[in-house]
Structure formats: C-alpha cells, structure tokens
C-alpha cells in the first residue's frame, strides 16, 4: 500500500511536470524590420503597432475580416440626441501590468497624449474636441461635429496608465529635436496579454504571458520576436527550424515553401492597393517631348492607358499569382467598395491605339515613370511591366527607380509626372482615401494628391463626409464620389496586395489584413 501510494505520487509529479512543459508554448516569430519604438503614440506605423498590440490594448480591436470588435471598451454608441458625442463603456476589472487599475482617467490621458503635438497618431483624432470621464467606466468624446465613423480610428491608439506615465514623465511624446529619449521607448506598462521581458532593438524582443490578463488564455505563453532583415536568411532560419513563423515572405518563396515538407504558407488579402498616378492640369509635363500640352489631362489618353494595362498578366507574371487585380483604388474590406466599381476592362490594344489617335497623339509621347524599388511587393517589376504595355500605344516611358526614401520626397513635392504608389486604409472607410488622394492639395488635405487633380464639387462632398450624421446619406455620397473618381480615372489601380505568412507544420497563424498578426490567435496542433 505504502509502495503503490509512493508510486502514484511519483507518477503524478512526473506527469504534472510533463504537462507543465508541454503547456509552455513558445512562438519564435521573425519579420524583416523591428518596431520603431515602444512609445505607443510616437509612430503610426504597422510594425510598431503590431508589437504594441501584444503589450498594450486599444478601446476597439479589428478582426481578421476587418470588422470592429470590443476590447478595452465593451460598448460604444452615439449619445442619445447628440450625434457629436461618442460614449464608450469600459471593461471593468482590467489591470495594468504593474497592478494599477484601468479606469476612464487612463483613457482620457491616453487620447489627449495621442492628440498632442509630437504624436504621429494625432491625425486620427483631429475631430476630437475633448474627452471626459463621466465615471470610472464611462468616457465621452466630444467631437467637433457629427463623426459617424470615428470608432474606426481607435484601433491603433493604445491606452497607457496615467499614474505610471506621470511617474515617468511621459506627458510629452518623444521629440527628436529635443535630443532626449523617453522612458516609454524601451519600457512598457500596458493591459495587454503579454508583458515585456527583454528588448534588444533590431535583434530580439521577448514577451511573456500576463497571468492577470482579462481575456481567455492564449495557446502561446512566450513570444520571441526577432528581426531578420535579409529575406534569404529569414527563410533559411525557418527551414533550419530556428523559428516558427515568418512574416514578409517574398512571393518567389511562397510556392517553394508550400511544397516543402513540414512547412506551410497562410495567404490572405492585405488592406493595401497599388496604383499608378499621373499629373493633371494644362501645364505641360516636365519629362515629356510634348511641350505644348499635358497628354495625361486628356481623358481619352487615360482611357487608352487603362486599356493596355493588363492587370491579369501582372498578377500571373510579376506577382506569381499573389495579388488581387482591382478596378478601384479601394480594397474590398473598406466601406464604399462594390463589385461593380471593382470591375476592370479587358485589355484592348487596338481600341487604345484608336483612342490615342483621336486624342491627337498618334505617335504617342515620352514621359518618365517614378517608382520605388524597396517599398511594395515587386514594385519596380510592376512598373517595368507597365512600361512595356504602354510601349504598345507609343507612350515611351523612361523608368526612374529609387529607394522609397528618395521616391517619397519627389512624390510629396509634386515633382513627378507619372508615379507608382501604394496605399493602406487603416480606418476601413473610403473617406480616408478621398482625404489624402482625391481632395485638392492643401495644407490639411490631398497630401498625396501628387497629380494635383482638382474637382471643387468632389472637394465639397469629401469635406461633408466628415460631419454627416446619417449613415445612409453618407454611404450614398461615398458612392457618388467613387463614380466620378472611377469615370475620371483619377488614379489607375493595379491590384490589392496579398500577405503571406510562412510557418512550420503544427502552428497556425491566420493572415491579418493590416499585416498586424496577433499571437494570441496562434493555434498548435
């Protein structure tokens, strides 16, 4: 009896130890570049948000299908009788990593910090006039006018602990010019599922599960987040078994990895479209042999250019099948997208040639195409392909390919006749596209309206979208704007990008449309 009891105890101890080991699941996750900072409001950038989402939390989250989900806020609604006030009910019983309680004061503090001068998040909260804590778990946002889609802007604004921030002097977001770093660049205190264990910038960041987290316990207990800049090395590290999940998989490796035993690739659409833009206005182009007019300003030329753009060929040849051709500069997740708008014409070179003759350019013209070569998937190759297609109707294009750091200043200064760019829509609403790409260029709008398209009627409608208080009317206006944008061919969309995550068998991570994968959603077989 004694003996068997001892044996049972021994077995129990061993099995508990074993179970303990088996349950401690570590995920080793690599991508090409690191988060820029841990200060939650300093940068508005995907990599930075992705890491922050594991440590900090937002009022609302975004599901893999693009829909809004409750997070630190459990309910939200417009105040009855006042469409200029949003009321958020907060989750109760949530604690920060240091044990402090999460309350409405923290939300007020964080939104004000995100609105402050050096914050890159301030654009998203430009319409917030003031934030007030009604009680410990209710917050009211007074907007400058009706702002129906404002909750969409909250999915990347993280909530900090006011007490901790005050202790560490964090009221001002990191300011480069001041020459001083701030405590939150390397230290964290969020309410999120993981706590920061160690961080070596550009090398490795280790996160451990936060036992006090309010949500269901995720399968991953420990995250090792690694930066591996070189694509070859990144894929090799996966193949050699040193890491479990790789982000930023080059399209040329997708097929190879899918066919390799022990590995798989998860593919899904990204909320980002790639497009060509050109200069509007009567002023002649800078890089063209036509010096008395601007051929791009002629709708017939733009139509001809679309008729030679073979989107399916670009998908097959340049993207190796990894893209979703589109007829509208707006991804399918985004409010305002319709299948009709998304349709695009079949290539028709003969008709395009006839249009060029009709437009008065039977011999075509010359122009320079500016393209980045390290920003979007196969960006330079897409441009090269289009150069060949335009050659069919006599438009002779010189390709000017540059790293994005050199491409951007040219674009922003409106110094390009013809260019390639990509655009993501973090608010999942068409107004975001209109504000920066379609509205006439001013200090506050049309920053990326590189071609200087102007249409006062559209400008009025775009501004109106910001303060409309009837969803149906607002959607109708969005549809009207898209109709004009598509008919005018203000932009020449090519495709929506596709995301690919590679992983070892036994691990599953679904693609997130903003390329912000969440390790709490990882499952192990």
């Amino acid at each position: 009896m004694q003996k068997s009891l001892a044996r049972i105890t021994a077995v129990l101890i061993t099995s508990t130890v074993l179970v303990g080991v088996a349950n401690a699941e570590t995920i080793r996750w690599a991508r090409s570049s690191d988060a820029l900072t841990l200060d939650p409001h300093s940068q508005n950038q995907g990599n930075t948000h992705t890491l922050a989402h594991h440590i900090y939390e937002t009022l609302l989250g975004r599901d893999n299908d693009g829909s809004l989900t409750p997070r630190l806020a459990t309910e939200y609604a417009l105040k009855e009788g006042d469409p200029t006030v949003w009321v958020f009910k907060l989750r109760e019983g949530v604690k920060f990593h240091n044990g402090n309680d999460f309350t409405a004061e923290d939300v007020v503090y964080s939104i004000e910090r995100a609105k402050s001068e050096f914050s890159n998040m301030k654009q998203l909260h430009a319409e917030v006039e003031s934030v007030t804590a009604v009680d410990d778990y209710t917050v009211e946002f007074q907007m400058t006018g009706p702002a129906l889609i404002y909750p969409n802007n909250l999915t990347n604004t993280f909530i900090m602990d006011k007490t901790w921030s005050d202790e560490n002097d964090l009221a001002v977001v990191q300011d480069f010019a001041s020459g001083a770093s701030n405590y939150s660049v390397l230290n964290t205190n969020g309410t999120g599922p993981y706590t920061l264990t160690s961080r070596e910038v550009d090398v490795k960041t280790v996160l451990d599960y936060n036992e006090g987290w309010w949500g269901d316990k995720p399968a991953v207990d420990k995250i090792e987040y690694l930066t591996i800049a070189d694509a070859q090395t990144r894929i090799s590290a996966l193949l050699s078994g040193e890491i479990d999940i790789v982000q930023d998989v080059p399209p040329q490796d997708i097929e190879r990895l899918s066919n390799t035993d022990g590995f798989k690739v998860e593919i899904g659409p990204e909320n980002r479209f790639i497009y060509f833009g050109y200069r509007f206005g009567d002023e002649p182009l800078k890089s063209s042999n036509i010096t008395d007019s601007n051929p791009f300003n002629n709708p017939l030329v733009r139509e001809a250019m679309e008729l030679v753009l073979d989107r399916d060929a670009i998908k097959q040849v340049v993207m190796r099948g990894q893209s979703i051709p589109t007829g509208i500069p707006n991804p399918p997740f985004v409010n305002g997208w319709t299948p009709e708008l998304d349709a695009y014409p079949k290539p028709d070179v003969e008709k395009a040639k006839a249009l060029m003759v009709e437009a008065g350019y039977p011999d075509g013209f010359t122009v320079t195409l500016d393209t980045p070569n390290n920003r979007y998937v196969n960006d330079e190759a897409i441009s090269t392909a289009y150069v060949g297609m335009l050659g069919q109707i006599g438009i002779q294009v010189t390709l000017a390919s540059r790293p994005v750091a050199e491409h951007s200043p040219i674009i922003l200064a409106n110094n390009s006749d013809f260019y390639l760019l990509g655009w993501g829509v973090p608010t999942f609403d068409s107004a975001y596209v209109f504000n920066d790409l379609i509205h006439s260029k001013t200090d506050l709008h049309g920053t990326y309206n590189v071609g200087l398209y102007t249409n006062p009627e559209l400008d009025e409608k775009i501004i109106a979208l910001g303060t409309m208080d009837d969803i149906a009317a607002r959607d109708a206006t969005i549809a009207e704007i898209w109709e004009v944008v598509k008919a005018d061919r203000v932009l020449m969309p090519v495709h929506n990008q596709v995301l690919a995550y590679a992983m070892r068998d036994g691990v599953t991570l679904a693609v997130q449309p903003e390329n912000q994968p969440n390790m709490t959603t990882v499952t192990f077989d």
């Binding site: 820029l36 550009d202 090799s236 050699s240 200043p409 200090d443 506050l444």
Partner: protein, 326 residues
C-alpha cells in the same frame, strides 16, 4: 619625437573633419528622413513642422556646424529610427562587431599562415594545386554568396549551426559577449569563416610568396649545407623572417575587417555596427549614418597613427631623417 606625433595628430584631425564634411554632404542627398518618420496620413503642415523641428530647413553649413560641435562633445544626436542616442547605439553594437572581427582575423591568420607554409614547402603536389585553386574561387565569390551557401549547407541541410544572430549573450559590465556561451560560440562560426575567407587568402598568398623568396636566399642554403634539420630551417629560420610583413598587413587589415563587416553582418543578422548602418541607410537615419562614417574614419586614423609611431620607433632611418630635416 613629440613634434612628429603632434604633426601627425593635427593631420588626423584634418582628415576627420574632411570625412565628417563628406559624410554630411553625401547624406544630405540620400533621401528625406521624414518619409520614414511621419505616418502615411501626415498632412503637409506636419511635414513642415517636423522639418523645422529637426533643423532640416536650416542651411547646410549651419547643420554641419551643429553636427561637428555636438560630435566634439561625443553627441551624435538621436537616431530618427530607434529614438535612442546614437553614441549609445554604436557602443552597444560594437562588442558584437569586435568579437566577430577578432574571431575572423584569428581564423585568417592561423589558417593563412598554415596553408601558406604548406603550399610553399610542398610546391608541386596535387594538394597545393587544389588549395591554390580553391583560394582563387574563394576571393572571387562575393561575400554574401559564400554566407548564404554556408547557411544553406550547415544550417538548413545539416542543421549543425545556427543561421542567424548571436545566440545567448552574457553581460560583462558594458560589454555584451557571446564568447562565453555555447550557443554564442556556435553562432560565431559561420559568420567568422565568411568574413575571414578574403583575409585568409591574402595572408596565405603573402606567406607563400615570402616563404618561397626566403627559401631561395643564401642563409637558408648555408643552413641546409650545415645539415640542420628541415624543421629547424623551415620554422626557425625561414618562417621568422616571413612574419614581419604578415603582421603589418594583418594589423592594418583588422581595421578594414571591423569597418567592412557590413555584408557578413547583414547576411547573418549579426547585431553589430555594420547591420546597424545598413538598417539606418534604409530609413535615412542620418545621425546614425554620419556617426558611423566618422567612427570608421576614426578607426583608420588611429590605426595609421599607431603604425606610423611604431615605424618611427622601430626604424632608425626615419628618426635620422626627421633630425636631418630640422
């Protein structure tokens, strides 16, 4: 002697200033850091404000003056990308690069001397032919190809060694070392070999040529005539005289190994100053790029200064020359 050193110091300062100026001039045209710093939806007004805040709207000479006066106090500003002081970033990354550079130099020195002697002594054998041919292939293949090849064979296929990173590290004061852990040492092998190959070939060919030269000299022939053993002749007499130029070259090359470990560090994701530089270029992180260039120039200037002073001490003719010059 003091006058000589003082003159060389002044020269060094001028060199550093020129390098700083060129670095600054070049980096002014590599691109706009604001593109990487501001978010997609930043407004034109934000760009203007940020430009002013960072001093990018100031004339070139003002920016350069501010840079030099800060640099003299060891201040290279804040990295745009990583938001940390640049001097701190470089100091944090330096141990990794120095360990890699020394490991590869040792491999190059030991391997190079051994193979050099071997090929000099066994001139017309098959193995010498193989070594000489391989060494030619070794120098003509680009470093990143060698690195990727080694990763493929030893990490992906054989799974013997890690493909990236530095493994586990231990903090000794401000020095973070990977030399004291097993995974750290294993991680060092592939990048060190990759980085050493070029130096190894150089040293091997140098040793071989010197050795062949020395073996033809009279005193070796006399030593042979006196009936000394091969071992005594080869290692006691010949090798000793071969080593002087080899040591000079190795010392000088150490500087360039530290400075140009960039490719190897990138391929192996080695967290040293080289990969810091590459990542900074992509983001147009001007403070880091400028500081790195100044830092590399400093290494070369200091090494050259030391070499000059050593020659001055060792070679009496130089000393006499200086006296005569007075």
């Amino acid at each position: 002697m003091l006058a000589f050193i003082a003159r060389r110091l002044v020269q060094s300062v001028i060199v550093m200033l020129v390098v700083a100026f060129i670095a600054f001039l070049v980096f002014r045209y590599v691109g706009d850091p604001l593109a990487a710093l501001l978010s997609q939806d930043a407004k034109q007004a934000d760009y203007d404000a940020a430009r002013e805040r960072l001093g990018l709207d100031q004339p070139f000479y003002m920016q350069f003056f501010a840079f030099v006066s800060n640099a003299l106090q060891g201040q290279f500003g804040i990295s745009y990308r990583l938001q940390q002081p640049v001097s701190q970033l470089i100091l944090e990354r330096l141990p990794a690069t120095i360990e890699l550079a020394f490991a590869s130099s040792i491999i190059a020195l030991v391997g190079g001397v051994f193979l050099g002697i071997y090929t000099a002594l066994r001139q017309r054998t098959f193995s010498t032919g193989v070594i000489m041919t391989l060494s030619l292939i070794g120098v003509s293949l680009p470093t990143f190809l060698i690195g990727i090849g080694l990763i493929y064979v030893f990490a992906v296929e054989l799974k013997w060694l890690p493909s990236f990173g530095r493994g586990e590290v231990i903090q000794l004061g401000w020095w973070r070392t990977g030399l004291l852990t097993q995974s750290g040492l294993r991680s060092l092998i592939l990048p060190a070999i990759t980085l050493s190959l070029f130096q190894l070939t150089l040293i091997m060919r140098l040793v071989r040529a010197e050795m062949l030269e020395v073996m033809r000299t009279d005193y070796i022939r006399f030593a042979k005539a006196r009936g000394l053993s091969n071992r005594a002749i080869n290692f006691g007499h010949a090798l000793k005289n071969t080593m002087v130029p080899v040591i000079t070259i190795t010392g000088l090359q150490l500087g360039s190994v530290i400075a140009f470990a960039i490719i190897t560090e990138t391929v192996f994701q080695w967290p040293g100053v080289g990969s810091l530089f590459v990542n900074s270029v992509a983001a147009v992180d001007v403070p880091v790029m400028a500081a790195y260039l100044v830092f590399v120039a400093l290494i070369f200037v200091v090494i050259n200064l030391i070499v000059d002073i050593l020659y001055f001490i060792v070679d009496p003719r130089l000393r006499d020359g200086v006296r005569a010059g007075k």
